[in-house]
Symmetry: C2
Subunit: 178 residues, 2 copies
DNA sequence: GAAATTTGTTTAACATGTTAAGTTATCCTG
DNA sequence: CAGGATAACTTAACATGTTAAACAAATTTC
């Protein structure tokens, strides 16, 4: 891809020449990151309005949703499950606690750890949102096909696992590179 | 350093006693949005270090990358291609222009429109990053399998198109719902 | 052809993503 | 048992996501 570039000077012309004179590379819009981004956005666009009507963002919903599956959970574990970085989670928990949607206390055995659980108020909110959310999910499944959807998720999972292996191989350029 | 856990801390039970007393719903971590999010993050985690070494964020890279394919492009069209919302793009363009990586001017025919193009400095930067970027992409393709990757992207594209159709059907609750 | 409406872009405000640094509590080693 | 290294968060700082509002230029209406 390091082909010889035509020495086309900087564009100072209002009406440039033709369009296709630069580095080709892969078709940008068809890159894997873009495909995944657009697909996810297309999915979330379906859910956001409903969540918004209940005063929840996507991340807040993920957290409450994860909390319904457990009695209590530590912050770090919650970050892993809800797939949020620590700082984001820290801010959101502060907000959710202020809104009385969750409850927190420090672990007796280890004062560093925080234990989080959903409040009855939070539980009510979840139960109010869930039906719409489930309906949307069912509609998506129906449209796309349950089997194909499962297959897609399998492929995504395999991709994820494969990339996790790459992590260990290419760990050597924390410095340099320019 | 290994899996040393708290000696008496209550662990999470997938099918635990106290855990499964609330709303069941779908398995949270296996939802489509989470699958897509994790997969995309796994992919981007590969690219981010390299981009960072060149002082670029993912979005800035997307913009410069899109600009290499055209002579000039209008802001709105650039937002569509790079898949960024107007406000985000507006901020990033301001920054990229300050760093002399792009050039801007207003269209003669329509003073509302802004025309953007990459600068020679921006082009140099792209050419510096591209090799590493392409190598990573090649590695991913090789690991996952070119055929399977193409299939995955086809499925993602179909999902995206299918959901786009849903948009028109369920448009009636801009108000109410709470 | 001026007012009303629409369009292209930016600004504002708040929430999250991302990396680095700070805090406090545990663990660990001499 | 004093430090030093770790671990679990939390803060800070900057960039982007997201929605609403502001603005100016173009288009439509009456």
């Amino acid at each position: 891809m390091a082909g010889k570039k035509s020495p086309n000077g900087p564009r100072l012309e209002p009406e440039g020449t033709t369009a296709a004179r630069r580095a080709p590379m892969r078709e940008f819009s068809r890159s894997l990151p873009m495909s995944l981004l657009r697909a996810r956005e297309a999915v979330m666009r379906q859910f956001r309005p409903s969540l918004r009507n209940h005063g929840l963002t996507e991340q807040q919903w993920r957290i409450l949703r994860a909390l319904t599956a457990v009695d209590t959970i530590e912050v770090t574990e919650l970050a892993r499950v809800a797939f949020l970085l620590g700082p984001s989670l820290s801010r959101i928990l502060r907000d959710l606690e202020a809104r009385d949607l969750i409850e927190r206390r420090t672990a007796k055995a280890d004062l560093r750890r925080g234990e989080v659980s959903i409040s009855s108020r939070g539980l009510k909110l979840i139960e109010a949102v869930a039906p719409t959310s489930e309906a949307i999910y069912a509609e998506i499944t129906s449209r796309y096909g349950a089997r194909k959807l499962a297959e897609l998720q399998d492929m995504l999972g395999e991709l994820e696992r494969g990339l996790a292996e790459m992590e260990v191989s290419g760990e050597a350029e924390t410095e340099a590179d320019e």
